[in-house]
Structures are given as structure tokens and as C-alpha cells.
């Protein structure tokens, strides 16, 4: 369709980027070009990632950290090189980075460190040095926010159920920001000397809101709490440095950042990882095994039981390399700075275009200040599922529903929203197609 926009600055060379993603050249329903606006759920994969995974299987495949043959050596080197590349992206040391199957598992790993430490302490079983802070007693408190994805909410609810700890939460204001001053659900209202964990998202998968992590982390540390960050929607989209954020552990998924599915990452301060009892147990996470009992390997191996997802880790390493090699079209920015600028420009353009459509309301910040590229919206008189269906009919693929953030939707009094998310391969033309399709939905359902 004809572009209706003024030139958008700060973009990547989108045509060049798109050529790296084979799936983007296919057509979808009714022969329409694919307008993929669901990268917040999962991203598409460039040749660099597909080739890296295939090359691993074709040339180097073996079970890593086992065996002494050449392939085992090469596979282990490739797996550890991927760890190193990913650690480098977030300013971390290699040994602080644990591979998990996804971010959900990474967050569960942390919540289970608490319940496992608590269960072991109850009958005097051996625990790693420094594990006291993972032992909970009834009345201890865990703080989350009202904008969490279920993956950073349900594990903490479960932990409360298992230990008698109490869940508290920071509220969300009408603009979709954390309501830090709220009398009941503000930061100082929910933090206290019983707070043991503060778990929050870096960037809301629904609202796009980037939270003031440093501010929350400093307040949490002042009461001695551990700070857990869900970085699923930030590490793929923004420059992230774990030390600048000031958090203790952080989780993200590979598949949302051009990598394969089946691999995620937990980063943790090394002294904390050392103090955490294992989550999944079995092969390769042990030190010595006897019939009477076992001791465990130091991190990260302590948390990588079983033969790991080596090819997927290698693919994720390639995705990191791909992201770091990107340059903005005008050559001024590189790597994650260029990615962030590209998404910022598209988000501004989309927010402006949607604001011009009567009957469309964006749920979340309407400006681009501290905001990522998730743009969720409701259309008067048309349920999100029906909006999504009409968009899909025109090749525009968005997410509809509550996006695994049901309490947040309840907070805004909506059952479901339609959500567009942008990534490196999206263009202003994609936004134009989105807006045209939304207008078409309105005319199809006769709401305008």
C-alpha cells in the first residue's frame, strides 16, 4: 500500500534487514504480504541464526561438558562461546550466566531457590553458604507489580502458598506507569523490613512502559530485599547493562531476540548464584555423587542439569552477533542503540497514527518517554479477537487477548486488547498497513 507517512528518521535500513529474514518473503491469507507485528510474543529468525544452528548440527554436534572426543570439545567450545557472547551483550561475566529453556524457567529457578532453601532448612539439611536470605518464614513479604506477565507473578504466588509468605504489589496508574506514590500500592507503602523479594518487569509486554528499575532496586536493597528483573521485553530491544540497573538477578528468553526457541537466560550476581540451592537436579550439575547423597557443582553448571540445548544456545549467540552488527541507516548508531532508535521511531509513528483514528484507545503511555514498542489498544464496539481476525485477513499479524497479563487488563477494565509490537524488520509501511486494517475493521463491523 502507498505510504502515507512523512519520512521517519532514526530507522535501520529496513529493506536490507528484511532480506535477512526468509519468512518475511512469504505471503499469508488471501495472498497478502506478511506484516508481522507479534515480535513481543516471539521474533522471526535471520539466516545468521538458522545457519548457526544448522552448522552446529552438521559439523560439531555432541553432548556438551561430557566426553573427551573432538566433537565434544568443539560442541562445548561453541556452547561456551555463546555464553560469552550473550554475557557480553548485558555487561555480565560468563560464569554469571545460566542457560535455561526460557525466561519462565529462569524465574521459576529463582523462586524455587527460595522454596527449596526453606524446605531444606526446615529439617536442617545442608545448604550452600549464604543461603539464609533464601529461607522464608510465614509473614515474610514478596513484592511484584500489577503489570507483571504471569511468568513473573504466578511463580511468586506459588512461593507464597508454599511458605506462608505474603504477596504485595506496586500498582499501575491510569497512564500505565508504576504508581510509586500510591498510598496503598506505592513503593514505600509495600516495601518493609519483611520484604525478601522485589520482582518486576523492565518493560511491560502490554503497555510498553519502561519501569524505573534503578529507583525500585535501590529502595528494595535498602530493606535488604533481592531484586529480580523480568527483562524479556528489554534485552531484545534496548541496551541493557546489568550493573547499571542495579538488580540481583535478571531473566530473558532467546526466542524474543531473534534466537531459537528452547533457550533462555538467567543472569545472577555470582555470590547469589553460589548461595542458591539447585532447581533441577541430575547429570552434569553435580560435584560428587554417592548413594548416601550428593554435592553440587558451582554455578552456572549447578543450574544446568542434563544435556543442555547447545544448538539453540549457539543460535542465540549468533542472534546476539546479528543484533550487535546492525547499524542505523544514517550510520550514526550501532548495535542495541540502533535497535532502540529504530523501535522508538516506529512507536512514535504508530502512536501518532493510531491517535488519528476515532474510536481507538491505546492502553499504556501515549508518548514515547520511557516506552518501548508494545502498543496495545482497544477499538470501540469491536472485541480484540474480532479486530485481530480482520487484521489477519489482511496479513497483519498482531496478538489479541490479555497477553499473559490478566490482572493488568482487569486494572484497565478491559477483557482483552489487540497488541502490535515492532522489531528490527518492521517498517513505517507496516504501521500504515496496521492502521488501514484497523479502519477496515471499523467499517466491517459498522462502528464508524
Amino acid at each position: 500500500m502507498t505510504a502515507t507517512h512523512a519520512p521517519v528518521s532514526g530507522l535501520l535500513d529496513v529493506d536490507k534487514v528484511r532480506a535477512d529474514f526468509p519468512i518475511l518473503s512469504r505471503t499469508v491469507r488471501n495472498g497478502n504480504r506478511l506484516v508481522y507485528l507479534d515480535s513481543g510474543a516471539t521474533s522471526q529468525k535471520p539466516y545468521a541464526v538458522l545457519d548457526a544452528e544448522r552448522n552446529f548440527y552438521e559439523r560439531h554436534n555432541a553432548a556438551v561438558h561430557r566426553g573427551a572426543h573432538l566433537l565434544a570439545e568443539e560442541a562445548t567450545d561453541a556452547y561456551e562461546a555463546a555464553r560469552s557472547a550473550i554475557a557480553g551483550l548485558i555487561g555480565a561475566a560468563d560464569r554469571e550466566l545460566v542457560f535455561t529453556k526460557n525466561a519462565t524457567e529462569a524465574l521459576n529457578l529463582v523462586s524455587y531457590a527460595f522454596s527449596n532453601a526453606t524446605a531444606k532448612a526446615a529439617h536442617g539439611a545442608a545448604l550452600p553458604d549464604g543461603s539464609e536470605r533464601f529461607i522464608l518464614v510465614p509473614g515474610d513479604e514478596i513484592v511484584v507489580t500489577e503489570m507483571e506477565h504471569h511468568a513473573n507473578l504466578v511463580p511468586w504466588q506459588e512461593l507464597c502458598d508454599k511458605t506462608g509468605a505474603v504477596l504485595r504489589w506496586i500498582g499501575v496508574d491510569d497512564d500505565g506507569r508504576l504508581d510509586l506514590e500510591h498510598p496503598e500500592h506505592g513503593l514505600s507503602a509495600v516495601l518493609g523490613k519483611r520484604t525478601k523479594v522485589v520482582a518486576l518487569t523492565h518493560q511491560s509486554n502490554v503497555l510498553g512502559t519502561v519501569t524505573p528499575v534503578r529507583l525500585v532496586a535501590d529502595a528494595a536493597h535498602a530493606v535488604g530485599a533481592l531484586v529480580v528483573l523480568d527483562a524479556c521485553q528489554s534485552v531484545p530491544h534496548l541496551p541493557v547493562d546489568v550493573h547499571e540497573l542495579g538488580v540481583d538477578v535478571l531473566a530473558f528468553s532467546g526466542h524474543k531476540m531473534l534466537g531459537p526457541s528452547g533457550v533462555g537466560v538467567l543472569w545472577g550476581r555470582y555470590d547469589l548464584l553460589e548461595a542458591m540451592p539447585p532447581f533441577l537436579t541430575g547429570g552434569s550439575m553435580i560435584e560428587v555423587v554417592r548413594m548416601e547423597g550428593s554435592t553440587f557443582a558451582p554455578p552456572p553448571q549447578r543450574f544446568e542439569a542434563g544435556v543442555p540445548m547447545a544448538a539453540q544456545a549457539v543460535g542465540l549467540g549468533a542472534a546476539v552477533g546479528y543484533l550487535q552488527a546492525l547499524r542505523s541507516a544514517d550510520g550514526t548508531l550501532s548495535g542495541m542503540h540502533a535497535v532502540a532508535a529504530h523501535e522508538h521511531a516506529l512507536t512514535a509513528y504508530a502512536l501518532e497514527a493510531l491517535a488519528d483514528v476515532p474510536g481507538v484507545t491505546v492502553v499504556g503511555p501515549r508518548d514515547t518517554e520511557s516506552r518501548g514498542s508494545a502498543v496495545s489498544f482497544v477499538v470501540d464496539g469491536i472485541h480484540a479477537h474480532d479486530v485481530g481476525q480482520v487484521l489477519d485477513d489482511r496479513g497483519v499479524e498482531v496478538r489479541v487477548g490479555h497477553h499473559c497479563a490478566w490482572p493488568l487488563h482487569r486494572r484497565f477494565g478491559v477483557a482483552a486488547t489487540a497488541r502490535a509490537t515492532f522489531y528490527v524488520y518492521n517498517s513505517p509501511a507496516d504501521v500504515d498497513d496496521l492502521v488501514a486494517a484497523v479502519r477496515h475493521a471499523q467499517s466491517f463491523f459498522g462502528t464508524v
Binding site: 479477537h385 490479555h402 477483557a415 482483552a416
Partner: protein, 136 residues
């Protein structure tokens, strides 16, 4: 497959003008069903006289398909959904619900169409068993 085959006039009509919407007294059994992927929900009541269902009432919120479907409470509809478009629909038996034949071609929407009907099936099963649980 085009959009009009999914959103037939009769479906949009039921959506915009739902028949019999609203919960009624008395009732023997009330169930509450949700579609956890999208948050659509329905509360459905059935009233029995002996072993005969004499009233069905419902309230809910959701997409056009789930709400129109609730408006067309009709048993044969289930058979059509589970046929994934393979069942030869008999218009005389199905009535308005024949319009849902198009839904079967969109697997992601079948759950929307079935929401009210699964609730109805559950409510009737509970009523027949005489063990109302309130929710399910």
C-alpha cells in the same frame, strides 16, 4: 475462505442483539466458564423441572463469535464444531447455528464458538447428576 464466511450476517446480528441475555431466577445450577487464552467468560444457569431443562439463562462478555454463540444455544452446534467443517450440516436441524460452519475453518476461533456450549453441557451434566458445584 473470506471474512464474510466467518462473520455471517446472522452472527453479527446475534452479537449486536443477543437473545435472552441476562441471568434469571430460579435456577438449579450455575456455572462460570472462561477462555483462558483471551479472557472471554460466560455465566450460565439452567433450571430443571424433573429431568427436563425448562430455562437457560446466561450473561457474559467476549468476542462476536462467543457472544453470538451464546445467543444461539443449540445442541447440534457442537457436532458441527467438532467436525472441523467435515460434517454436512443440516440446515433444518441447525437453524441459525449453521452460520458457524465458517468458524470451523479458523481453529483458533472454535473455542470462542464453543464457550457457551461447553458451559451449557457442564451445567446440564451437573444438574442431572444433582451435584451443583457453582463453578467449574
Amino acid at each position: 475462505m473470506n471474512l464474510e464466511s466467518l462473520y455471517q450476517e446472522i452472527i453479527l446480528d446475534h452479537y449486536k442483539h443477543p437473545r435472552g441475555k441476562g441471568l434469571r431466577e430460579p435456577y438449579e445450577v450455575e456455572v462460570h466458564h472462561v477462555n483462558p487464552t483471551c479472557g472471554d467468560e460466560i455465566t450460565l444457569r439452567v433450571e430443571l423441572e424433573g429431568d427436563k431443562v425448562v430455562d437457560v439463562s446466561y450473561d457474559g462478555q467476549g468476542c462476536s463469535i462467543s457472544q453470538a454463540s451464546a445467543s444461539m444455544l443449540f445442541e447440534k452446534f457442537l457436532e458441527l464444531m467438532q467436525g472441523r467443517g467435515q460434517v454436512e450440516p443440516d440446515e433444518d436441524v441447525l437453524g441459525d447455528a449453521i452460520a458457524f460452519a465458517g468458524v470451523a475453518k479458523y481453529p483458533a476461533r472454535v473455542k470462542c464458538a464453543l464457550l457457551a456450549w461447553m458451559a451449557w453441557k457442564d451445567a446440564v451434566a451437573q444438574a442431572v447428576a444433582g451435584t451443583p458445584e457453582g463453578t467449574s
